[in-house]
Structures are given as structure tokens and as C-alpha cells.
């Protein structure tokens, strides 16, 4: 290949305390190519990229740009070498316009002229086929538009090497397609694009070459055209993994939960759930799809008893005596005391589901501490639960007394899910159960969900990966802007159809009704 090298990494090593995040990693990036950096969580992808972008400083190794060794000590240095990174979490000032955010922090000659900036931004937008109004304020922008601002910010500073950290995690399928076409245009312009991801189908779709990292080591760099999903997974995980998710047929589904006309407002009085109605059956997995912030969190919390309902009812069908209980009237504690087994794995694991500074036993006690006698705690039973979880879910921990915040993301989630399952729930709700988890842990969680389903538990889970939602769920509830835009059979629906429902607005829905 007569392609020109843009950036070379030689023997880059980075340690955090005793953890070796990158161990002598070599990497070449050419001009006019899209390189995917693939690896599981904790494989050192982001750390490696942060060193190119000047966020971290390598302990050992060299970075060469256009064949010359450079020292990148800060993001400013990186920009001088025409390197720009778009981080996973946006760093934008909400009250400024898109264009103002784009020039923020740049030192330019002469007077500051926002009109010129607007014109320049519009030019970039048009050139690459973005959709963005530079005069709009950030708080008026959608997530994908915010990402566009971040990308243009980097381009505006003249970057030739772009690093995108998990850019698709927050996008709908349609937005992903659009992003990829923009990336292609940049590539044709001779720019180098490094895209960090752990989604295989995206790697195959967009990249020219793939670099695989595992536990801080560079495993291989291969041409995308010459590889396959199975091969990439094997390199990423270190052994062959079956990527099929089971979906047993629901056995004897019974109506368990009726959500009727539920309306919820947040503290500012904004409508978060708008007359949401649906049913949940025992022995099924109901997936909930939607762009982030569409009301998923509020919905689960409303059922669980953490949200005050403005309207509507949540009817729980008790198995034993055909009793129907309206959960709306009950406090969280009353729901527990009625013996209604509701389990909830919240999105914020360490901030809500668990206490990071407590050990596994004390975290088990969150659910059971009230059982102790005479005001004293009984640590025996929770200790048993802790041992059971460590054994059954293969939690790797230095010991039962290690604070859970010191465990890896996958193990934290196993502890949380394990505790919730140990409650023998009839309804198990999970918000983003595999977010941030590696493939092995993800599949452990999927099979736990299926196991619960086979036991007759109703599983409701909010997911962000549509492929998984489609493969695992029996039915999918799609919400947008706090309203239900569709309930579909997951066995007979395509990703694109769900994607459309995810962005369907209220007005479109009303028109349909009429």
C-alpha cells in the first residue's frame, strides 16, 4: 500500500497504580482510513487514545506523527499536531450556542466575530453532510446534534486525526447510519479516523482496519474485509464464544402487572411519562426501547414505587388469592411488606443499587437488614447470600470484605443482580443491565434473565443495544418523550422499525390515530 502513515505508536505503556492499562502497545494509523479500536471494557482502548489526545502521559514508549517523534503533554499539544478527540461524555456549555461552544477556548487573532464563526461552522456542516444549526443553544439540541457539535469542534480546530470514543452508544440506528456516512466523507478528505467501540457489526460496517486490544495488550491489527465477527470476538475475548442469545418460548404466561394511564412529572413540572399503558405477563421478557432520557428510568421507578404518579394506576395481580393490588397507593416499604416480590436493578449501580464503600455482605443487607432482632443487625443471612452469589455467579473478588466499588463493572453488576434475584422476585426490572460489561459478563446476565423467565418471573428490561433487545425479548415496548409509541413482537420486527418508533413524535402518533 502506498498509503501515508499519519501516526505511529511504539511500545506505549501506561500504569495506574498496580494496574497495567497498556503494555507496550504498537499502533499505526494511515491517512484517509478508518481504524476501529476494538476491545472489551477495561482492555485499555480509551486509555490508549487519551494518551494520543494528551489527557494522559505515557510511562514508556514513543508517539510519532508523520514519522517524527512528538511529545503530547496536553490536549493543546494534541491540537497543535492536528489531533482531536470526541469523548464519550460531551463537554459542552448548555447555555451557549453550538457555534459558541465550538470556538470556546480558542485563541484567535483579531476581534471575536460570531458571524464568521457561524459561517465557518455552516461550511463544515455542509461539506461533510452534518445536520446542525450553529445558532441553536445546546439545551435545545438532541443527543446526536450535541455529538455533531463535538465533532465539528474538533474539525474547526483543524484536526486531521479524529478519535471518537464510543460514538454510537447514544445514537439510534438511523443516526448511526448518518454518522457513518459523514465519517466516510471525512475519510475521502484524507482524514484519519480512529473509532473506539465494542460493537462488532459497526466495526465491520465502517472500518478499513481493526486493532484489537485485550487486557492492555495489542492482540492484532487486521483488514476488516478479511475478518469475521466470530474471529474478532475470539481475539477480543481470548477464546471462542457463542454469540447466540437463547429465547425460550414463554410458558403459561399470566397477566401479572397492568400499567394504566400512568402520568409522571418531575420536580420541575415537566412531563416525564404521558399516559403510559401496557401489560406485563409472567414468564416473558419485555424489552423497553427508546433513545436515552425517553422516560425509561421514570417508568421503572414508577412501578417500583419511587415516583409519585400524577395519574393512572399500577395493578399487581397476586398469584395466591387472585388479589389485585394497586401499587400506586402504597409506599415502597408497604409494597415489600405485602410480599409483592418486586426486584429492581437500577441504572446507577453504585449510586443507587449498591453502596460502593460497603462490602458484599453489607450490600446484601440493604434488602434484609430489617429482619434483625431487637434493633440489632443480623449479618449471618446476608453473609450466606453473599457467599452464594460469589459462588454461583462467579464473582471475582479478593474477599467478602472488599468494598464493592473496588470490583470491576461486571462483578459489581453480578452482585447487584444476584441480590435482586435472591429475593425470589415475581417481577424483575432491570435498567441497562449490561451497560459497561464485557462479553462474558453480559452473557452471564442474559442467561440469568432467561433463567428467571423460565421460572415464571416477568422480566422487564431497558436496553440500549437494539440487537440484544431484539434477540432476547419476547415483546418490545418502545417509548419516546414519555409516551408509548409502539408495542411490538420482538420475533417479527426489524431493527429499523424499532428505530423509527424510537423517534416517532407525539404529533405523528396523533395523526395516525386520526
Amino acid at each position: 500500500m502506498e498509503k501515508e502513515l499519519a501516526i505511529q505508536l511504539h511500545g506505549i505503556t501506561k500504569r495506574f497504580g498496580t494496574v497495567l492499562a497498556n503494555d507496550h502497545v504498537d499502533l499505526d494509523v494511515y491517512r484517509g482510513e478508518i481504524l476501529a479500536v476494538l476491545g472489551e471494557n477495561g482492555s485499555g482502548k480509551t486509555t490508549l487514545m487519551n494518551m494520543i489526545a494528551g489527557i494522559y502521559y505515557p510511562d514508556e514508549g514513543q508517539i510519532l506523527i508523520d514519522g517524527k517523534e512528538v511529545v503530547i503533554r496536553s490536549p493543546k499539544d494534541a491540537f497543535e499536531h492536528k489531533i482531536g478527540m470526541v469523548h464519550q461524555h460531551f463537554k459542552l456549555v448548555d447555555l451557549f450556542t453550538a457555534a459558541e461552544n465550538i470556538v470556546l477556548g480558542m485563541e484567535t487573532e483579531g476581534r471575536y466575530n460570531i458571524r464568521e464563526v457561524n459561517a465557518e461552522v455552516a461550511k463544515i456542516t455542509e461539506h461533510y453532510g452534518f445536520h446542525l444549526d450553529p445558532t441553536k443553544k445546546i439545551y435545545d439540541l438532541s443527543v446526536s446534534e450535541k455529538q455533531t457539535v463535538e465533532i465539528i469542534k474538533v474539525l474547526y480546530r483543524g484536526a486531521d486525526i479524529l478519535i471518537l470514543d464510543e460514538p454510537t452508544a447514544v445514537l439510534t440506528p438511523q443516526e448511526i447510519t448518518r454518522l457513518f456516512s459523514v465519517l466516510h466523507r471525512m475519510k475521502e478528505d484524507g482524514k484519519s479516523i480512529i473509532i473506539i467501540t465494542h460493537k462488532l457489526n459497526e466495526v465491520l460496517e465502517v472500518s478499513d482496519r481493526v486493532t484489537i486490544l485485550r487486557k492492555g495488550h495489542h492482540i492484532a491489527t487486521v483488514n476488516t474485509a478479511e475478518t469475521s465477527e466470530a474471529q474478532l470476538t475470539e481475539m477480543m475475548v481470548g477464546r471462542a464464544v457463542s454469540l447466540n442469545i437463547d429465547r425460550p418460548e414463554p410458558v403459561n404466561p399470566q397477566l401479572l402487572l397492568e400499567v394504566k394511564d400512568v402520568t409522571v412529572r418531575d420536580e420541575e413540572g415537566l412531563l416525564r411519562l404521558n399516559h403510559v399503558s401496557f401489560d406485563v405477563y409472567s414468564g416473558e421478557i419485555l424489552g423497553i426501547a427508546g433513545i436515552s432520557g425517553a422516560g425509561q428510568k421514570e417508568l421503572l421507578e414508577a412501578i417500583y414505587g419511587l415516583q409519585k404518579l400524577e395519574e393512572g394506576s399500577i395493578l399487581f395481580h397476586s398469584e395466591a388469592d387472585q388479589d389485585v393490588v394497586d401499587l400506586r397507593q402504597k409506599s415502597l416499604l408497604e409494597i415489600r411488606q405485602l410480599g409483592i416480590h418486586l426486584s429492581f436493578v437500577p441504572e446507577d449501580r453504585l449510586g443507587m443499587g449498591l453502596v460502593g464503600n460497603m462490602d458484599i455482605t453489607d450490600n446484601m443487607m440493604l434488602r434484609s437488614y430489617r429482619a434483625g432482632r431487637y434493633g440489632f443487625l443480623n449479618r449471618k443471612a446476608p453473609r450466606k447470600t453473599a457467599d452464594w452469589i460469589i459462588r454461583e455467579l462467579e464473582v471475582s473478588t479478593p474477599g467478602v470484605t472488599t468494598p464493592v466499588r473496588r470490583l470491576s463493572g461486571g462483578n459489581v453488576q453480578k452482585v447487584l443482580v444476584g441480590r435482586e434475584i435472591s429475593q425470589t422476585p415475581r417481577l424483575l426490572m432491570m435498567a441497562y443491565p449490561v451497560r459497561g460489561l464485557d462479553i462474558n459478563s453480559s452473557y452471564t446476565i442474559y442467561s440469568l434473565m432467561n433463567l428467571q423467565k423460565e421460572k415464571g418471573v416477568a422480566v422487564v428490561f431497558v436496553g440500549e443495544d437494539l440487537d440484544v433487545l431484539l434477540a432476547l425479548s419476547d415483546r418490545i415496548l418502545v417509548i419516546n418523550g414519555g409516551a408509548v409509541t409502539g408495542i411490538v413482537d420482538a420475533r417479527n420486527v426489524t431493527k429499523e422499525e424499532v428505530g423509527l418508533l424510537m423517534t416517532k413524535t407525539d404529533t405523528e402518533r396523533k395523526e395516525e390515530v386520526q
Binding site: G17, Y57, D59, G61, L306, G353, V355, R370, F376
Partner: protein, 376 residues
């Protein structure tokens, strides 16, 4: 451009990284080292500030000896040392449940002072008119009620309207101080505003004057240790302190826990006030607590809110206090000098926590702990 090896050329001179964990022995080593360094700096400062020492450098040994002498030279001093620890520890223990809940109660001073005032008010009005045992009980009730009231007002405001507890409890200190001044004017119309020692309402003493107080605080220490570690309420306090959202998620009534815990915290401050009022002074002044409500915060913090560890930190602070007053006596320097010494040493002790939490890397050194810590 000449080729340079990466690390040496322009790597930042120092950079910090947070430690994942540190062996306890090493942590205590760092703390002891800090105290030693603090003492050395104290010595240097003393050379400059104390004329007698500047002229007679051979007396530097006496300077350091005073720290021991201040608390251990006579049995009277030793008992006083223990008593001072007990009172300071009692206030620190009172603050502990609130701090474990991350409720920044810096009103220990006022809650204790109002406790003293409550006890002495009962003493003033009823002393001699009711049997001594009943008087002592009534003083006890009044002290606890007053302390509780002072703590629960900010707690209710925090629970209901989310007010800032730090400012609120701080302001309550001033209200307590001025309230004492107000009552002194009423009780002592002559204008001296000094109440003098009252005849009645003194805790019985056996063995030593201070023994009862010391035993009460010792029992309280053990009780509170059990409370925070082994009871449901203690557990709820920890959960609320770590994460209010987790507490709500498992159905804890957060407001109830806040108020309940502050009732406890205030009542224990009231108890400290009772020990000061009925156990020691039989009088009240605006300075009855003498800033121990604030020192208590430091004791609790340095002891990591662990009641047993706080015995040590309270001991350290009182050792320094008494040692420093001994120095000002022996070397005939201003009464402000002890504060300078205590300040310097605490600066080092508190500063050492930084080195326990962070590791410092210098340019060119690349051991980064992997080797060392792996061996351990």
C-alpha cells in the same frame, strides 16, 4: 530535531495518582512521621519566638520534655489529662452519628453550651429547694432536652426544606452564646456578669473527682461503637451517609433518619454539657465549652468517625494542649504560644492524609509501585 528519549525530555516534573489502597501499617507510619516532622518544625519556631530558648539552645530537651511533663509529671496532671480527654471525646462522640450520615453538624459547641446552660438554669432556680439527687436528675433532663432542641431545629429545616445544615448549625452556636450572656445578665444583676460557682448540683465523686466522668464517657464510647456498627439504626445512618438515593431505593425514610440521628447527636452534646455543668463547673459562662465543640470535629474526623480510634485522637490533641501550656509556663511565653504549637502539629497530621490518599511520582522515576506493592 534531535531524537530524545521520551521520559526524560519534557515529562512533567511531578504528577499525582490516587492510591487504590495502602497497608494500614504504612498509613500509620506516614502519620507518625508527620507528627515527628511537626514537632521538629515546632522546635524551630520556638527557637525564633522564645527568647529563653534562643539564648539557651541546650534547653531544647526541656522543650520536648514539656509535652510529656504536661500530662504525666504529677498524678493531678494525669487525672486532668484523662478528664480533658473524656470531655472532648464526649463531644466528638456526639458529633459522630451526624457525621457518619454526612450531616455536617458544626454546632457541637452551641449544642453543648446550651446543655450547660440548661443544667445550670435548673441548678440556679431549684438548687437547695429539692433534694440533691432529684436536682441532678432534673439538670440531666434539662441539659439533654436543651442540646436536643438545638440540634433538631436545623435537622427539621434540612429534612423539610433542604436548608444548609453547616450554616444553620454554625449560626445556632452564636445564638447559644448570646443566650448565655442574656441569662447571666438576668441572674447576676450586679453587673459583673459572672455567676460564680453554685452550691448545689454537683455530681458525686468517688475515688477521684474525675473518675465518674471518665467512666461515663468510656461506657458511651463502647455503646456508640456498638450503635454505629451493629444496630439497624447505625446501618441506616451509614446508608444515608453514603448515598441518599440508595437509601430511598431500599425504602429508608431519609428525613426520619436525619431527624432521629440529630436528636441523638444533640442529646449527647447535652450530656457533654451536663458533665461540664454538673460534673465540673457548677456554673456557666459563654466560654464554658471553650471551643471543644470545634476541636471535637477534628477529633472525630481524624479518628475516621470510629469511636474507638477517637480515643487516640482525642488523647493526642489533649496531650498537645497540656504539653503546650506546660511550655508556656516553663519558658514564660504568651498564652497564645500553645495554640501555635497545636496548630502546627495538626497541620502536619491533617496534611499527612494527603500522602496516604495520593502517591507522588517524580520525573524520571518509573517504579510506579508495581514492584514494591506486588512484593508486599
Amino acid at each position: 530535531m534531535s531524537k530524545t528519549r521520551h521520559g526524560e525530555a519534557r515529562e512533567p516534573l511531578v504528577h499525582l495518582s490516587k492510591r487504590a489502597s495502602i497497608p494500614p501499617l504504612k498509613a500509620w507510619g506516614i502519620r507518625l512521621l508527620a507528627i515527628a516532622l511537626g514537632l521538629i518544625v515546632c522546635g524551630l519556631v520556638a527557637f525564633v519566638l522564645i527568647e529563653k530558648l534562643g539564648q539557651h539552645p541546650e534547653r531544647i530537651g526541656d522543650f520536648y520534655n514539656a509535652f510529656i511533663k504536661g500530662s504525666f509529671s504529677t498524678s493531678r496532671k494525669f487525672w486532668k489529662f484523662l478528664k480533658n480527654i473524656a470531655i472532648l471525646l464526649c463531644i466528638s462522640l456526639a458529633l459522630t452519628p451526624a457525621f457518619r450520615m454526612r450531616f455536617w453538624n458544626i454546632g457541637g459547641e452551641g449544642q453543648t453550651l446550651i446543655g450547660v446552660l440548661g443544667a445550670i438554669a435548673v441548678d440556679f432556680y431549684l438548687g437547695g429547694q429539692v433534694p440533691e439527687w432529684l436536682l441532678l436528675i432534673l439538670m440531666f433532663v434539662a441539659a439533654l432536652a436543651a442540646g436536643t432542641l438545638w440540634a433538631v431545629i436545623p435537622a427539621i429545616f434540612k429534612a423539610k426544606w433542604g436548608t444548609n445544615e453547616t450554616l444553620f448549625t454554625l449560626m445556632m452556636n452564636y445564638v447559644a452564646t448570646f443566650l448565655v450572656g442574656y441569662f447571666l445578665v438576668i441572674w447576676v444583676p450586679s453587673g459583673s456578669s459572672s455567676l460564680g460557682k453554685l452550691k448545689y448540683g454537683k455530681l458525686p465523686s468517688f475515688g477521684n473527682d474525675y473518675l465518674l466522668i471518665i467512666l461515663i464517657v468510656l461506657a458511651l464510647t463502647i455503646g456508640l461503637y456498638i450503635y454505629v456498627n451493629y444496630t439497624k439504626q447505625g446501618y441506616e445512618i451509614n446508608v444515608v451517609g453514603e448515598s441518599v438515593r440508595t437509601a430511598r431505593y431500599i425504602g429508608i425514610n431519609v428525613n426520619k433518619v436525619i431527624i432521629r440521628t440529630m436528636v441523638l447527636s444533640g442529646a449527647l452534646c447535652g450530656l457533654a454539657g451536663y458533665l461540664i455543668g454538673a460534673g465540673l463547673d457548677q456554673t456557666v459562662t459563654a466560654d464554658s465549652v471553650g471551643g471543644q465543640g470545634f476541636t471535637g470535629i477534628m477529633v472525630a474526623w481524624l479518628g475516621k468517625f470510629n469511636p474507638l480510634a477517637m480515643i487516640l485522637t482525642a488523647g493526642l490533641i489533649q496531650l498537645l494542649n497540656q504539653g503546650a501550656s506546660q511550655i508556656s509556663q516553663d519558658f514564660d511565653v504568651s498564652g497564645a504560644f500553645p495554640d501555635v504549637i497545636v496548630g502546627i502539629i495538626l497541620f502536619f497530621v491533617i496534611g499527612s492524609e494527603f500522602f496516604i490518599n495520593y502517591k507522588i511520582h517524580f520525573r524520571g522515576h518509573h517504579d510506579h509501585g508495581t514492584g514494591k506493592e506486588a512484593v508486599k
